[in-house]
């Protein structure tokens, strides 16, 4: 008999809308945010694809899936002085109920971008972390909505990832979009229920 899944995948389930100061150097700040993200994401998964938009080449002008290492990406980004955005698609690596690895392909998307392509250099950057799986929340929308076991195992790592990203970029959480998960997500990440609490 196959166990019912306790979580689901769907595009854009939970979004963290972040703002990062550009300190008058938006391109350097985009590079910094990319580098910080590529380091932080190792806590919860792996970057799979990097897409770079530039003023001269347009949206998605360059796309790499051959390198996921932060320093390598940083070196490549140096070649583009007119970056307007970087988008990174990631796989999530979670811990399953038996402590084995639970891989979730394309489970998370990150981007950092200028507010507008021609934003003032001092304008803050927009960052976004989007979860395309609800594996971290206790009350999911899986076939069986009780996902407490996986949430307890994995949500703390996600919250560490988010805290590191905020700390090392100086970004703040502008807002969170998690309409289907009320009370389970806030600016610090995933909010777990108290042990023994009813769903």
């Amino acid at each position: 008999m196959m166990a019912a899944t306790t979580w689901r995948s769907k595009s854009g389930l939970i979004m963290f809308h972040l703002a990062m100061p550009s300190r008058g150097q938006p391109v350097a700040s985009i590079r910094l945010a990319t580098n910080v993200f590529l380091e932080a994401v190792k806590i919860i998964g792996v970057a799979r694809e990097v897409e770079v938009s530039t003023r001269s080449g347009g949206e998605g002008a360059h796309e790499w899936s051959d390198v996921i290492d932060g320093p390598q990406i940083a070196q490549r980004l140096e070649a583009y002085p007119d970056i307007t955005a970087v988008l990174i698609r990631c796989d999530l690596h979670c811990e399953d109920r038996d402590a084995s690895r639970l891989a979730i392909p394309s489970g998370m998307t990150f981007w950092v971008q200028l507010v507008e392509v021609d934003s003032h250099p001092d304008a803050p950057l927009e960052m976004n972390v989007t979860l395309d799986a609800d594996v971290y929340v206790a009350k999911s929308w899986g076939d069986d909505r009780d996902n407490r076991d996986l949430a307890q195992r994995n949500a703390p790592a996600f919250n560490r990832f988010l805290a590191n990203l905020l700390r090392d970029t100086g970004a703040t959480v502008e807002s969170v979009s998690a309409e289907d998960y009320r009370g389970q997500v806030d600016a610090t990440g995933i909010v777990l229920p108290a042990l023994g609490a009813r769903l």
């Binding site: 595009s11 854009g12 979004m15 809308h17 938009s53 347009g58 949206e59 998605g60 307007t84 988008l87 698609r89 394309s106 998307t109 981007w111 971008q113 507010v115 507008e116 392509v117 927009e126 976004n128 989007t130 502008e174 807002s175 979009s177 309409e179």
Partner: protein
């Protein structure tokens, strides 16, 4: 067509970020064609959003440089269309509703 809905009060990012995500989703689907996104504002809190604030976010995310995998963005309030923007053959974007 990607459909996204919101029932809480509109903030300064939701529309922009949903358009960005939808454009990437169309790209990830592997289709050569462009896609569309419908944004549904439901309930009193979300539907209170003024049109100017909605359009400002749409224009920032859906223009000749951004949201390029999308050819149409439509915004509804409680099921009633309040705005529609379309990409023209030259890549620019025009509001078609309200005219």
């Amino acid at each position: 067509v990607e459909v996204k809905s919101r029932s809480s009060e509109l903030d300064g990012r939701w529309i922009k970020d949903q358009i960005r995500k939808a454009s990437d989703q169309v790209k990830q689907s592997g289709a050569d064609e462009q896609g569309a996104v419908e944004l549904q504002l439901r309930g009193d809190d979300a539907a209170r959003a003024p049109f100017d604030a909605i359009e400002r976010q749409v224009k920032a995310a859906f223009n000749d440089a951004r949201g390029t995998r999308l050819n149409r963005v439509t915004v509804f309030k409680d099921g009633v269309k309040v705005g529609e923007w379309r990409r023209l053959p030259d890549g620019s974007v025009e509001r078609v509703f309200p005219p």
